[in-house]
């Protein structure tokens, strides 16, 4: 059943400060809407619970890409197309560009925002694995100020985040420390364009000779939320990729990831299938490092 659009309120306060003031005055009453690529789908099929929406799509304050010596700062209102067009992101954060290119079609990438992808908090979302692997931090803003936290602390459970009802996600910050690291991302879905992931793995690794000295893994759909795979990272840090050790390193990595993954069964896949495919993706990454 399609929704009756006359039952919904939508306003577009002129400034970020005005949006934050309204969120603070009536906490929990209003739902922010940016590009609409998620909430308008819910509206279309009669599943949009929020009755009062605040448009933040037009806020220039949230749409920026700023680069300094240490980090790239991306405004939450930055679209996937903005990300794909940016030369600094292309150079430093190829995994983010790749995942942005998977997020729906060109028409949806022109509207959908990085902040929306994060705050919608789907465990299958395309950009979180890359941001988790890159060690991103997120800055939240409210009428009373800003606070910054590691992105790993933002997702609290299935579709639950650290955002308070009076807050908006403001900035996603990624450190510029990955020159010389090996970077890899792969999504498995029905197809890359449009289809939502069954699972996805983003990996960055620093090598010394044939030894993994640092490793970070972000994953989609291996839990009820996007996760960093800390235990798998620990199991593989210090591991050797030398020809004589590679098979045992691969086995250890697969075993650690199988232990760590707690994927859900849903409409798109089963937990068992997701665990096996994620282990295959990890193995592919490890062999590419050795190759």
């Amino acid at each position: 059943m399609r929704s009756d659009v006359t039952q919904y309120e939508l306003t577009a306060p002129a400034t970020l400060a005005a949006v934050l003031a309204q969120l603070a005055a009536e906490p929990g009453k209003h739902t922010p809407i940016a590009g609409g690529t998620e909430l308008m789908v819910a509206l279309g099929v009669g599943r949009l619970g929020a009755k009062s929406l605040l448009s933040i799509n037009h806020l220039r304050e949230l749409r920026f890409i700023r680069v300094d010596d240490d980090a790239i700062h991306i405004g939450a209102g930055t679209t996937f197309s903005d990300i794909r067009r940016n030369a600094d992101i292309a150079r430093d954060l190829p995994l983010l560009v790749q995942s942005a290119s998977w997020t729906g079609s060109v028409a949806n990438q022109n509207r959908g925002t990085l902040g929306g992808n994060i705050c919608n908090a789907s465990p299958a979302a395309d950009t979180p694995p890359a941001l988790l692997a890159y060690g991103a931090t997120v800055t939240l803003i409210s009428a009373t100020g800003m606070r910054t936290m590691p992105y790993t602390e933002f997702h609290l459970g299935y579709k639950r985040t650290a955002l308070r009802p009076d807050e908006l996600l403001h900035t996603i910050t990624v450190p510029r420390v990955f020159a010389g690291w090996k970077q890899h991302i792969r999504k498995v879905g029905t197809r890359n364009a449009q289809a939502i992931s069954k699972t996805a793995l983003a990996c960055v690794a620093k090598l010394h000779g044939e030894t993994i000295t640092e490793l970070r893994i972000g994953a989609a759909s291996l839990a009820d939320r996007p996760i960093r795979c800390y235990a798998t990272e620990a199991a593989l840090t210090g591991a050797s990729l030398a020809a004589s050790d590679l098979e045992s390193t691969v086995r250890a990595g697969r075993a650690a990831l199988a232990q760590e993954a707690k994927p859900i069964d849903d409409i798109r896949s089963t937990g068992r299938y997701r665990s096996i495919v994620a282990a295959n993706l990890l193995e592919e990454f490890l062999r590419s490092l050795a190759g």
Binding site: V5, V41, L43
Partner: protein, 159 residues
């Protein structure tokens, strides 16, 4: 209800519509421009694609208020008077249009693609049209139509 100011295909409209009404429905029901089609209503098929301030968007996912003040191009604005646009002509001549439901979105997605990449590779064509589903042609004729349109436009860039 709110009053939306829209410039559609060069013509100004002031329309009283609920702010959450889908732009797709505003175009079809309020502006009476029914060339824009509804396919899935979920942003997956591209049948409702239009250009909003020059950017390709799925109009089923745009609330009316977010288009307030915008300049829109729909399929009705692509042809020049009695003359088809080269993109339309190439779809016609190459069998790129069959039942016609996907065609308005395909033509506007092609328009957007050729603005970005005047001489697109096959890879760029496939990616540019990946959000537009066609159940008739099998796509090959559409890809050929786009290639021919790119050639036609490179000979006559401002039709």
């Amino acid at each position: 209800m709110s009053t939306m100011q829209l410039t559609i295909n060069g013509k100004r409209h002031a329309l009283d519509v609920p702010p959450m009404k889908r732009l797709l429905d505003v175009l079809r029901e309020d502006a009476h421009l029914t060339g824009t089609k509804e396919g899935c209503g979920e942003g997956e098929c591209g049948a409702c694609a239009v250009l909003l301030n020059g950017e390709l968007v799925n109009s089923c996912l745009v609330p009316a208020l977010q288009a307030n003040g915008a300049t829109l191009c729909t399929i009705e604005g692509v042809a020049h008077e009695q003359h088809l646009h080269p993109i339309q002509q190439c779809f016609l001549e190459n069998g790129g249009a069959q039942c016609g439901i996907c065609t308005p979105g395909m033509v506007l997605a092609t328009h957007h693609l050729l603005d970005k990449y005047p001489n697109p590779t096959m890879e760029q064509i496939k990616e540019g049209l990946a959000g537009n589903l066609c159940r008739c042609t099998g796509y090959m004729r559409i890809f050929e139509s786009v290639q021919e349109a790119a050639q036609a436009l490179s000979l006559n860039p401002d039709p």
